[in-house]
């Protein structure tokens, strides 16, 4: 090891005029220095006298009192914690119960405040102890020389290679190689065992439960939607397919895939760039897009009716509702999938099929057909 700061060593012995006992002896642990002897005379500490700077007796006495005061504060605060804990019973036991959010806040402040005070006071007491009572130490100790000596390294190397040789590991390649071969399947087994953590994707991600004639309800309710419910131009409703299991409703998985934004706009506002098919998928100015952003899957929940823009609040992908929900700004790449809608015989708004493309975050084969 080379030391590029060699001038350190030469300077180490130069004790500053204001550091009579402050500088470690240049000789380190071996205290031969003449300066040390004067202090060393009655010194009984664990470290050499030159490295130990005791506090004045007066300071120590005051320090002890102050530390004791802090510890007493900690004790009282600790008692305070128990008092506050038992002052706030859980709901079943009456008032004031922590079931009420406001009371829970107060209980939290009292319990937490007393604990924080107790902890702080212990910390403060210990710090006073270390800084006022205990001596200030400036102990020096050598860094270990890290690389071993060439002899040690050579000895180890010889020992190791002799052992490898004698054991046959190097000399018997057939045995060695078959052992390594035997490890391969065992190493792969844990990975294979993870196979049943989930199903294969197949084309699951490309389809939803929407199908022709399926009615829709306002999200969070059972209210079926008629085309006339959206009569006000500029209106926007979040809708889900009607559930045929009134007890449980739609599973979260189905909600995550089927949720749509129903937007009513003046049919004249639709962009010329929309294809005839996309226009056919609308009904009287009502257009339905998947609410799940094609970027990383947040609900694109914000709609501004004057500009017909749909905005995802997570990463601000912006889609043009008047133009097939094409991306106009932000990180998303694909347009929001469009859900074909029509009206059934009873005037209810229904889907006219599944989405135009895969719903949700873009994946490897999202734009591939089946």
């Amino acid at each position: 090891m080379t030391d590029n700061n060699t001038n350190h060593d030469s300077g180490a012995g130069a004790e500053g005029p204001d550091r009579v006992i402050g500088t470690p002896s240049p000789a380190g642990e071996s205290l031969a220095g003449a300066t040390a002897t004067a202090h060393e005379r009655r010194h009984e500490g664990p470290y050499p006298a030159v490295e130990t700077h005791p506090r004045p007796e007066e300071m120590q006495r005051k320090g002890e009192k102050l530390a004791a005061l802090w510890f007493l504060v900690a004790f009282l605060a600790g008692i305070g914690f128990f008092v506050s804990y038992f002052s706030f019973p859980p709901n079943a036991e009456g008032e004031p119960a922590i079931a009420d959010p406001q009371t829970a806040q107060y209980a939290n402040m009292l319990m937490g405040g007393t604990i924080a005070l107790a902890l702080f006071a212990i910390g403060a007491g210990m710090t006073v102890w270390a800084r006022r009572v205990m001596p200030h130490y400036e102990v020096s100790s050598p860094y270990d020389e890290l690389p071993s000596s060439p002899e040690e390294k050579g000895s180890f190397s010889d020992f190791f290679m002799q052992g490898a040789h004698e054991s046959g590991f190097t000399k018997r390649p057939l045995m060695r190689r078959t052992l390594l071969l035997a490890m391969v399947p065992l190493g792969l087994a844990p990975i294979v065992l993870l196979r049943d953590t989930g199903p294969l994707p197949g084309d699951k991600l490309k389809h939803t439960m929407w199908e022709d004639g399926m009615r829709m309800v306002v999200e969070g309710t059972d209210r079926l939607i008629r085309a006339s419910d959206l009569d006000e131009v500029g209106g926007m409703v979040t809708a889900l397919p009607e559930s045929h299991d009134p007890e449980h409703g739609l599973s979260l998985n189905d909600q995550a895939k089927t949720v749509v934004l129903l937007i009513k706009m003046d049919p004249a506002d639709f962009s010329d760039e929309m294809t005839q098919q996309q226009l056919d998928w609308t009904h009287d100015g009502i257009v339905a897009y998947s609410k799940i952003c094609t970027h990383v899957g947040c609900p694109a929940a914000l709609y501004e009716q004057t500009s017909h823009r749909i905005l995802c609040p997570c990463h601000q992908s912006t889609f043009d509702a008047a133009n097939g929900a094409k991306v106009v700004f932000g990180p998303a790449h694909r347009a929001l999938p469009q859900l074909p809608v029509r009206v059934d015989d009873e005037g209810y708004l229904v889907a006219a099929g599944d989405f135009s493309s895969a719903v949700g975050p873009t994946f490897w084969d999202a734009e591939k057909g089946d």
């Binding site: 030391d3 804990y85 937490g112 924080a116 909600q255 995550a256 990383v296 994946f363």
Partner: protein, 547 residues
Amino acid sequence: MSTTPAPKALRGLGNYIDDRFHLAKTGEKNLRKVFPNHWSFMLGEIALYSFIILLVTGVFLTLWFNPSMGHVVYDGSYERLRGVGMSEAYASTLHITFDVRGGLFIRQVHHWAALIFVASLVIHMLRVFFTGAFRKPREINWLIGVAIFTLAIVEGLFGYSLPDDLPSGMGVRIFQGVLLAIPVIGTYLMMFMFGGEFPGEAIIPRLYTLHILVIPGILLALIVAHFMILWHQKHTQYPGTGRTEKKVVGTPMYPAFAVKAGGFFFFTFAVIAGLAAFVQINPIHLFGPFTPTSITSGLQPDWYMGFLEGALRIFPNWFDFTIAGYAVPMGVLLPGLGGMGLLFGGLAAWPFIEAWITGDKRHHNVADRPRNAPTRTGIGAAGVTAYGLIWLAGSNDILSETFSISLYATTWFFRIAIILGPIIAFIVTKRICLGLQRRDREILEHGYESGTIQQLPSGEFIEVHKESSPDTVHVLQSKPPARIDIDSTDENGVEPPSGRGAKGRLRARLAHWYTKDNVSFEGVRPHSGHHLHHGATASEEESVKAH
């Protein structure tokens, strides 16, 4: 030196242990271990202490938390959500909050400690980076530190996801979206991770196992390894009188450091407990349970995920492409995974890149002053700037709302700033470092400006320069040589083999770039008090010295 004998009970215990482990000598050596004194060495301690707090409070929370996505209709104590359908995970988190005394407090301690854990890791790592404490022989401990940092972020994300409230579910959704974006295997990974489609019923139990068992286990092992290595190699120290590459100076473990560190643990815990008591964090009862169909605007992740969120926001979709009809959404891959890769990969590689450029194979125990490694410091500042800007970009909707700026304008601002900001930060920081180097040389050569004005017999006014303290001189002289002699030739004029070829030339160029602007201290002798230009007489210098 004799002292009072140990009490009988203690002696008995000591003998009992020593009879079985032969620990007297090792024990004394370790209790004598020296810890250099500097406030910046406490940053890693904060990380350790908050990790301990996380373990303890985490165990408490597991006593009630039910990591299940099974659907229940809530009928617990919290009135406002009674009758609402939710997962058992969310319901049990409400139970901890409103039915378990101290539950809310411990939840908030756990969350605050997590934020402070990651924050102190980052600041600790910056300290190690800027002072060059990662250099040989400590590169492996640096790598362990990077691994701890990486795992801490993942651990935090998973923990944040467990209560299954609206924002946490959205975090899981984004995680799922990033998984899906991975080419070829993305859909498989996602299906295996979630046990089917999003959200399914498997993800929270699985994240729970990772969060309370697997990742903390690995973290604990890594932290122990980090400490054993630190203990074995000893701390770095800052330059100063008596502190050399071969000798460490500081406070011994026993008795002083143990008490100081113990006190510091209680301070750390007190701050976290105080925050948990008085500053509300993650009030999941106000957010409501997760549904994949709803969202609120202004959602913000925990701070350490902010840079990923920001990257996802400002990265444009210009680089997305398709191969034979298959989609490769670079707009998700690069910020979502590339950003992490760049951050952690860059951190892990840096000690080796720097050692390769400088050809420095020596052991370093005395830490660099950041100014004395201006290129490294500049690169670090550029990294901090890039991180900070991306992190801020994660709040661009808040910035847009607060300052009434167009949302898209903030996006564009960050898209441009992320390129310009680090370049400016590099140049400015490097210049500041070089300026400080020049000032150091000035002080070393001429002493410091005392502020005393003196009139000479000739009528001229001069400012008296005084001699710096030996400690200052020591610190200033610790500066390593300005340049690396890398393209030197041997006595026959032949360049070294390592200097040949494209790689060698690149390295020589980098080495030149790395050190070219350094201020040389060669030939500079400490201020001796005999410089004519400030005119102070020798006797005055003496009086200064005596003072």
